[in-house]
Subunit: 207 residues, 2 copies
Amino acid sequence: MRYTKELSDLIEEFAKFPTIGPKSAQRMAFTLLRKSPEQVKKFIRIIDDAKTKIRYCQKCFNLTSQEICEICTSSSRDQKQICVVESVKDLIALERTHEYKGVYHVLGGIISPLDGICAEDLNIDELISRVQTHLQANEELELILAIGLSTEGEATMLYIKRLIEYLKIETGKCNITRLAHGLPVGADLDYADETTLAKALSARVLA
Amino acid sequence: MRYTKELSDLIEEFAKFPTIGPKSAQRMAFTLLRKSPEQVKKFIRIIDDAKTKIRYCQKCFNLTSQEICEICTSSSRDQKQICVVESVKDLIALERTHEYKGVYHVLGGIISPLDGICAEDLNIDELISRVQTHLQANEELELILAIGLSTEGEATMLYIKRLIEYLKIETGKCNITRLAHGLPVGADLDYADETTLAKALSARVLA
């Protein structure tokens, strides 16, 4: 005899989430059972709302409950500065800095042949047509490639850069930039890995 | 701008569970969004089922979807051997050994004045009347106190023992036992804490 069926089903469902082991799943199930019926109803409603209402922004692939997300529709955002990120999590991380006033484009991953992810699986075509629209309107555009410096990240950035260079648009201009890499703020030199330190050294600036 | 409302609500709900930090909650919310609508519906149904169907066994306070749990109704279980445990989790841990063939009584906690839990908050009265019923039927009963050896655990066991001794029942007999404490199987001596080692030494048996 184990837990009653309803309870073991619940534990099993929680254990399906990443990083949730059997012990955590059990703890979560018991916590849920201790909640009031109203709290559980609220939890169910929130799950249902999230699944039925949240979708991808038609323009930048951010998660939103509208057709076009808040950032894309905001009038205070510079539509001619597009920051290309891997995921919505990265978008939120950049938003937390409160420094960036442009818009975004979420790729939905990076090119990674080993994981079976190729360029067609990502929102790269949509990015190119966004860039093209701006260029055809004779605008000067900045594309910030804010992707992590892994091998796959580098390849993805290079791929996007080449694609845009091959566009051969005669009007407009697209400046492609990437995030600065170097020592994290507050980090000790002797804790930094060699690659980061080498990057920081080669990208040194005037003091 | 942060996540869209529905998504931040979902993350918040997951973060309400114990040991689930903001990062894990975020990861769980994204995992849920990636599930198919059918999978999410199933998840919701399982949560709802668990909350509406699971209740306490009227006899032993195990969690069950019936009036009386499977263990209490089982004919292969010895009804005259009652194992007293702190929680349903402990009951399941004992069940996993496949060694115990008696029934249980779940206290729903242990006496802990510092946490504001006194004897009246636990299912001790119900235990006493169960014991009384057996004794009045002139039966010989074994009560196994399977509670951890913390100060609160010790106090709870002592409290139950005294209560039963004070019952002054003239018929029947109630043998009160407790779990053996000592070195865990497979454990190294130098990793055992002093109290466990001292217990193991004082409770030594003939080799």
